[in-house]
């Protein structure tokens, strides 16, 4: 489904990703872990199309299509959706508007018409209940005045409404207490299916107790230094990152 080949990415002349390769197949959940500054968040941002990055070489394909040649919104409509680490506040724009506009944009791309209002409201009510959020959230401006936990729930709410084919979740656990993390993890798990893949970016193993990945990759200095199954994450929890650093240096 997603194929990243020898990706080199720079910001202001500093190379952050130095030849990263990664394949994610349909139905798989991958976790990218690594110490701070290893380039974890860069990968998902580049795939989503953030413009501050300079891609010096390499390729990213999604179902065989060149992702790097696509517009930001095209990527989202194709099913590549990024859950932000720091969701931005958009004053005056109600959550419900954003959801409706995004859902209709996706449906239009799929050749479907606009979802009728009653059907849409039913869907939203169902999803918002699943995220244990109050319906009043819909009337509030996007992320404005939301607590850290509310912002993260809101990201997952958008995911479960828009049903991406590849969900990329950037540090979705940061700033969450254990109860909030369970709700977020339940939301994410409800998205798991044969056709849907996920890319979790996280610093801590904690999240992976709730969302068990198929593959775990350790990112060190812009490259994947080590890959393994869920067991690797547990090992990192116990031993830290140093041993991977040493191993990769050797």
């Amino acid at each position: 489904m997603l194929e990243v080949k020898d990706l080199h990415v720079s910001v202001d002349g500093n190379e952050i990703l130095k030849g990263l390769s990664l394949t994610i197949n349909a139905g798989e959940v991958h976790a990218i872990m690594g110490p701070n500054g290893s380039g974890k968040s860069t990968l998902s941002s580049v795939i989503a199309g953030k413009e501050d990055y300079e891609i010096t070489s390499g390729s990213v394909t999604f179902d065989g299509k060149d992702v790097l040649a696509m517009d930001i919104e095209e990527r989202a409509r194709a099913g590549l959706l990024l859950g932000f680490q720091y969701p931005v506040e958009i004053p005056g724009v109600k959550n419900i508007y954003l959801l409706k506009a995004a859902l209709n944009a996706k449906r239009e791309a799929l050749g479907l018409g606009e979802m009728p209002a009653p059907e849409f409201m039913k869907l939203i009510k169902e999803k918002i209940a699943a995220m244990k959020m109050d319906a009043s959230f819909l009337q509030r401006a996007v992320n404005e005045g939301f607590s850290g936990g509310e912002k993260k729930r809101n990201e997952i709410l958008q995911m479960i409404v828009l049903e991406p084919r590849l969900a990329m979740l950037d540090e979705i656990d940061s700033g969450l207490d254990i109860d909030a993390m369970k709700v977020v993890a339940d939301g994410v798990n409800s998205l798991r299916s044969e056709e849907r893949s996920m890319l979790l970016v996280t610093h801590y193993q904690r999240l992976l107790d709730y969302i068990v990945p198929d593959r775990v990759h350790v990112l060190v200095d812009g490259r994947i230094a080590k890959s393994g199954d869920a067991e690797l994450a547990r090992e990192l929890e116990v031993r830290g990152y140093d041993w991977v650093l040493e191993e990769s240096a050797a």
Partner: protein, 480 residues
């Protein structure tokens, strides 16, 4: 988003730029005392009205146009303007909608104005001013039943001379400023509203102004009076066809609110802004002022300004009555080569007076926009309060946004707060929306509408939708 893309995005067409081919009677260009006598005579005005006009004209001759605004335009040749144009002959003036020239109705249809059935459905009473004269006023009979007078100012001069004599020029004196003096001399029509004591006007009142004929100026005069405990909500809409010449619009609006009265005045202004090279467009020099004469009275101005080549406009409130309230909510969008210098004045005279100013300016293309506001608290205005929020959004690097707030505080118990920001559309906000699959254009519209939310929510429901649509049209472009 690159600057170029942004520029494409903000290019748009003017949707109301059609000309209506109807028979009209137009005075040749030029202005002297004879012109004024002609206008006065044409409208069958009494002698005192003509005298009033001539007095204004003589004062105007001694005045000079203001030069302090952040505007750049060639001097206006007041002799090149025609000061009177009327569809058909006044004797044939329609008495009800059924008699209105179908072409004219078609015009309003194109404008999407709820004049006909839509008016009935919306329950909005409409007065339509086409070039210089009031064409039709709907629901007049229904309103009269409630005691509300809603008619053209010409009719008011004829039918309610005492009210007109008492209030005309009492808020905006004849020589208040250059354009007000000109208007006082040559005004041709406009709306008149009188709501008697204790009456809450049963429906929204609305006037649509359109400049149609070539080389004409439009000088309408609106006077709204709310007696004790009376209330009215009034909306005006403005459009004009696309023409290569600049046309002058110099209106005066006077509002008088007595004890516990409430006047809500909303404007959706979409005069032709000129083309992308700045050719043509309306010069909009307007004096709007409300006088909160009575205790606890309230006047609220809401404006959505998307049109005109030049806008010079400061709807103001004189807060005389104790505990009276003044409000100003404004969205102004300038694009292409439009220039706007707009804002408000809140003059706190009485004790416990309060005012709120929310101004949202959006400047794109090569447009220049300035917010100019004055908050004055006099020595007797104990406990006066003002809050001002004044935000500017810039789209593209060829436009300008300026803020000139004047705060003159002369009472130690006053509380005056002013906040202002200037920035561009957040790149991170755009990215966030696009990463959810929303197109760049829709994302810009969403963010801009969000930016304007505080003002749109002050508009009457039917018009809030219209205003949002208008904003989107203004910023509509060629993305994708």
């Amino acid at each position: 988003m690159s600057t170029q893309e942004m520029e494409q995005l903000v290019q748009r067409e003017y949707k109301d730029g059609f000309v209506t081919n109807i028979e009209s009677e137009t005075l040749p260009p030029g202005l002297d005392e004879n012109t004024i006598a002609f206008i006065s005579n044409k409208k069958g005005e009494p002698e005192w009205m003509l005298e009033w006009r001539l007095k204004a004209y003589r004062q105007w001759l001694k005045m000079t146009p203001p030069s302090w605004a952040h505007l750049d335009y060639p001097p206006i040749d007041y002799q090149a303007i025609s000061y009177f144009s009327a569809p058909k002959r006044p004797e044939d003036r329609p008495q009800s909608l059924d008699e209105v020239d179908p072409k004219l109705l078609e015009t309003y249809e194109k404008l999407g104005i709820p004049l006909h059935e839509r008016a009935a459905l919306a329950g909005v009473a409409v007065d339509a001013v086409f070039d210089s004269v009031s064409v039709v006023t709907t629901f007049k009979a229904e309103l009269l039943e409630a005691g509300v007078v809603f008619c053209s100012i010409s009719e008011a001069i004829r039918d309610y001379p005492e009210l007109v004599k008492r209030y005309l020029g009492s808020v905006v004196p004849q020589a208040d400023n250059y354009f007000a003096a000109l208007n006082s001399a040559v005004f041709t029509d406009g709306s008149f509203v009188y709501v008697p004591e204790g009456v809450v006007c049963p429906m929204e009142l609305s006037t649509y102004f359109r400049i149609n004929a070539e080389n004409t100026g439009q000088f309408e005069r609106t006077l709204i009076i709310c007696e004790d405990r009376a209330q009215v909500s009034y909306l005006e809409g403005c459009t004009a066809p696309m023409r290569d010449e600049n046309q002058l619009h110099a209106a005066v609006v006077e509002l008088v609110a007595l004890e516990d009265a409430y006047i809500k005045y909303s404007t959706v202004q979409n005069w032709y802004p000129g083309d992308e090279n700045g050719v043509g467009g309306i010069y909009n020099f307007v004096t709007k002022r409300g006088d909160c004469r009575g205790d606890r009275s309230r006047i609220s101005w809401t404006q959505v300004e998307t049109g005109s080549a030049i806008t010079w406009k400061y709807p103001s409130c004189v807060l005389r009555g104790k505990d009276s309230i003044g409000e100003f909510y404004s969205v102004a969008v300038t694009n292409g080569r439009q220039q706007a210098d707009t804002g408000t004045k809140m003059i706190h005279i009485g004790e416990g007076t309060r005012s709120t100013i929310v101004s949202k300016g959006i400047s794109a293309g090569r447009a220049e926009q300035a917010y100019r506001g004055q908050v004055k608290v006099g020595p007797r205005a104990k406990g006066a309060r003002n809050f001002t929020q004044c935000d500017s959004l810039l789209i593209g690097d060829q436009c300008g946004a300026h803020t000139f707030p004047y705060m003159e505080i002369g009472n130690s118990t006053a509380q005056v707060e002013h906040e202002a920001t200037t920035s561009k559309i957040g790149e991170d906000q755009l990215f966030y929306c696009r990463a959810r699959g929303i197109s760049e254009e829709d994302a810009v519209n969403m963010i801009v509408n969000g930016f304007c939310k505080d003002v749109f929510q002050e508009l009457p429901m039917e018009f809030a939708v219209e205003a949002e649509a208008l904003l989107n049209v203004t910023l509509e472009g060629a993305v994708g």
